[in-house]
Structure formats: structure tokens, C-alpha cells
């Protein structure tokens, strides 16, 4: 199994989710994060205070997948999160030692395979 961690632009989230759904990738975790990916700093002014916004809002996706799903997932993210400008984000693929599904106690491959529809 692998853990895919993707950092993307917040306004690309809907497109990425749609692409993942089309690629049959279900179960994932999404969090709002702050980050910096080398893009030009944005300057904001509030009365006399001028600030450079170094940390941009990003969205982090965490997706646990079985090995044969890695390429599909990565491809879906790359295809949907890109704008071509600096700051589009990264996709990391990490090895995972163990996965346990809390509800059933299933582990590893079985724990990252979505239950069949209607089986719930």
C-alpha cells in the first residue's frame, strides 16, 4: 500500500475531487493547510500596513491506496490540479507499513479497498 499526499491549490479542489471520483478513487482525507511553493509573494495593504503573504492557503489530500491504484491516482491529480503557474503544488507517494480499517478490523490491502456498493 501507499499513502499519496497531494498539496494543491484550494480552488482546484473541486476539479481534483471530480477527477478522483472518475478514476474510482474513493476514501480520502482533505485538510486546509498553509504552505509555500516558491510562487511570487502576494502583497496586501491594510491602511498603512503592507504585508507580504508568504504562506499561501493550500489544500492537502491524503489518500491510502493499494499499489495498483497509485498511478491512476497520481495521474488524476496531475491532470486536474495543474494551472501551469508556480504554486500548483506537489504529489508525494509514501510507503505505508500498515493500514487498519477501524470498523471491521481489516488490515492492509483489504482496509484500503472500498466496500462493494450495497454491501454496507
Amino acid at each position: 500500500m501507499k499513502l499519496i499526499v497531494a498539496i494543491i491549490r484550494p480552488d482546484k479542489l473541486s476539479e481534483v475531487l471530480e477527477a478522483l471520483y472518475r478514476a474510482d478513487v474513493r476514501g480520502l482525507t482533505v485538510s486546509k493547510v498553509l504552505g509555500h511553493g516558491g510562487e511570487t509573494d502576494r502583497v496586501e495593504t491594510y491602511r498603512g500596513t503592507t504585508v507580504k503573504v508568504e504562506l499561501q492557503e493550500k489544500v492537502r489530500l491524503e489518500i491510502g491506496v493499494s499499489d495498483h491504484f497509485v498511478d491512476v491516482t497520481v495521474k488524476a491529480i496531475l491532470g486536474s490540479a495543474r494551472t501551469g503557474e508556480v504554486g500548483d503544488g506537489k504529489v508525494f507517494v509514501l510507503d505505508v507499513e500498515q493500514v487498519h480499517r477501524i470498523r471491521t478490523g481489516e488490515r492492509d490491502e483489504a482496509a484500503v479497498t472500498p466496500p462493494l456498493v450495497g454491501q454496507t
Partner: protein
Amino acid sequence: MPSPLPLLLLVQDAAPAIVPADTAWMLVATGLVLLMTPALAFFYGGLVRAKNSLNTMMMSFAALGAVGITWAVIAYSLAFAEGTAWLGGTAHALLAGVGTEAKGTIPHVLFMAYQGTFAIITAALISGAVVERMRFGPYLAFIVLWTLVVYAPVAHWVWGGGWLMTKGVLDFAGGTVVHINAGISAVVAALVLGSRKDYGRQAIVPHNVPFVLLGAGLLWFGWFGFNGGSALAASELAALAFTNTFLAPMATLVAWMLLDYLRTGHATAVGGATGVVVGLVAITPAAGFVSPAGALALGALAALPSYFGILWRSRTRLDDSLDVFAGHGLGGLTGALLTGVFARKAWNAAGSDGLLAGNPGQLGLQALGASASLVYAGLMTFVLLRLLALLVPLRATARTEGKGMDVTQHGEEAYADGEGSILVMSDGASVAAITPAMTPEPAAR
């Protein structure tokens, strides 16, 4: 020694009389209507996404400046100076001849200011159809031109002695001039601009519903000046208009909540706020012509076209984002037509009888007034935007839309917390880190 008082009274009698009570009420009413534009900013601002909330609010707020100045410079004259049946003259350009002399029973300057608050909010209303995608500069240019080319002439037609006024079309406080005008212009603007890139693809939901309720509440408060002040006097008529403005939205609110409840099983807050605004819009042309009971009936009926108009619109490709047409256009039309149904001379001798009082002709006149505004404002808005588009791009790029209009148009965020931001010092070169995470750890000792 004889008192100088009788002599003073004599002098006052000679000039057209300013009535202090009328002046006092109109001073307050002007402030009330001005407050409606910031109120609209909250109403609209709450309905959009967080990343566009400042831009949306600024579209209303900026009208206070841009349209207000336009009004003083020339638009007031075009609307209210002596002119033809189609347009006022330039006698009051740059407020020439607008002094403290009486206009009716209030000082002329006050009349000008009061009418100016109407011009401002009418232009701001249109913004609801183009939020989250129209660039700020072209928007400002558009509302200035629109005030000159659409608002001023139509205000002249209905209130400034123009042809609709002469024909006897009833529009107490601006159902046609303000709401039908803004409503049709909004729908045309939405068509010219095109829909937001995310429209119909993702769920776009209001980012701050309490703002929407706050805005609707403040709009109602300000509307007492809008309708009550349209009597232009502290009179029985003002009291009637005030009371009708009090009652009609209550009926619309109840009707809207019922419709919401029957359709979805919930009375929604955004729906309630919308219902209040629709009720206010609908009673606007009728406020000084119908009975309080008529206002209740009118308010309840007004919920129907707007409620189902919004439902229909949101299923189409027409991205009138904040439903300005369904709210103000349909609400204004319903109000204008129902004025021709419920109007009674018994309540306002200066008005007319409507259909229920045995004068079906009034309904036809109301339809004429509404159609004139629909056709003229719709056409001119289209022409203005197309001409403007030849000079500058009207809408933001898809990337800009993605980033949001607040940071791209204004360089600000509505809900910034300063985390990850670096203070730029006044000399421009030195910066001080204010975020611990960005400060290098002190070397271990």
C-alpha cells in the same frame, strides 16, 4: 418695542414655504436611504464565497462614491431639471441653482441629496448579477455610465415631469425607476458577462448567512426612509407609506417561509432574508397608494413570482448570481402591476383608483410604465456593456476567478489572520518577520 416676529413671518410667507417638520423628517429619511447601500453590501457580501466577499461588498460601497459624485455633477440635473418629456436639462449641472430655497416644502439641497441616495443604491443593485467575475475598474465605469444613460432619464420620465408621469403611471417610491430598472439591467449584464467559471459545475454557497440577515434587516430599516420619505413630507401620506412598508414584507416573509417549508421541509434563513427584500421591493411603487390591508395582500402575493423565478433561474445557464432579476425585477413588476390593482383614491387623493376600485385602465398604465423601463434599460445596458467591452476586458480571467476577486482586485482578504505574512517596512527594503515559523531558531547554546 414691537416684536420683530410678525415681520419675520411676513417675509417667510412671501417665499415658497419650507416646513420645518418636513425638513426634519427628510433629513432623517435621507440618512436612512443612504444606509441601505452598506446594508446591500452585507446582504450581497454574505451570499458570495469568502474569497469574493470584499469585492462584492465594495461593489455596493464604491457606488456611494462613484454614483454619488456623478449625481451631483450632472445626473441630478438630467433627472430633475426642467427639460423635455424624455430628459431633464442641464440647468442644475454641478448643482448650479441648487440652494437652500424651497423645493416643495423642503430645501432644494436636501431634495437633491435624498434623490441621490436612490441613484446610488439602484446602480449598486445591479452588481449582484455580475459578482465573483466582473473586474472592479470596468464595473465602476459601467455604473457611472449607467447612472447617466439609464437611471437619470427613467427617473425623469417617472418623477421629474417626464412622459410617464404625465400619463399618470403610479410609482410611489421607485418600483419602476429603481427595481425594474436594476432588475432588467442585471439580467442583461449577467448575459453579456457570461456565467462564473464554477457556475453549474460546483456548489457555490453563501459564506456568511448572518451577514445576509443583517443586510436584510438594515435594508428594511433604511426602506422606511425610502418609502416613507417618498411622501417628501412629514405627513399622513408618509405615515401610510411607512406602515405599508412595515406590513407588506411581513406578509412576504410568512408566505416565503411557507413556500420554503412546503418545498424543502425547512424555513430557510437565506429564504427569509430574500422574502423580506422581495416584499420591500414589491410595496415600493404601491406604498403611498394602497391601504394597509392591500399592502398585506400585495406582500403575500409578491412572494410567488420571485420564489418560483429564483427556482427556475438557478436551473438554467443564466448566472444572475444573486438573483437580482427574480428579486428586484419580478418583485418590482409584481409591485408595479399590483399597484394598479390595489390603489385607492380614498387613501391618497393625489393617486388613482386601481382595478379593485373599478379602474382597470390604471393596470394598463402600470404595465406601460414597467414595459418602458424594461425595454429601455435592457437595451441601453446591453449597448453600454458592449461598448465598454471594446475598450477594456469586462471580466476576470479564469485564474483570477479561481484565486478570488478580493486578493486580485483589492489586495486584501476578508478574513486574513496575518499568519505567514511578513511586514514590509516603510523604506520598502527591510522586513520584519512576524511569524514564529518563519523566524530562524536561535542557535543552541
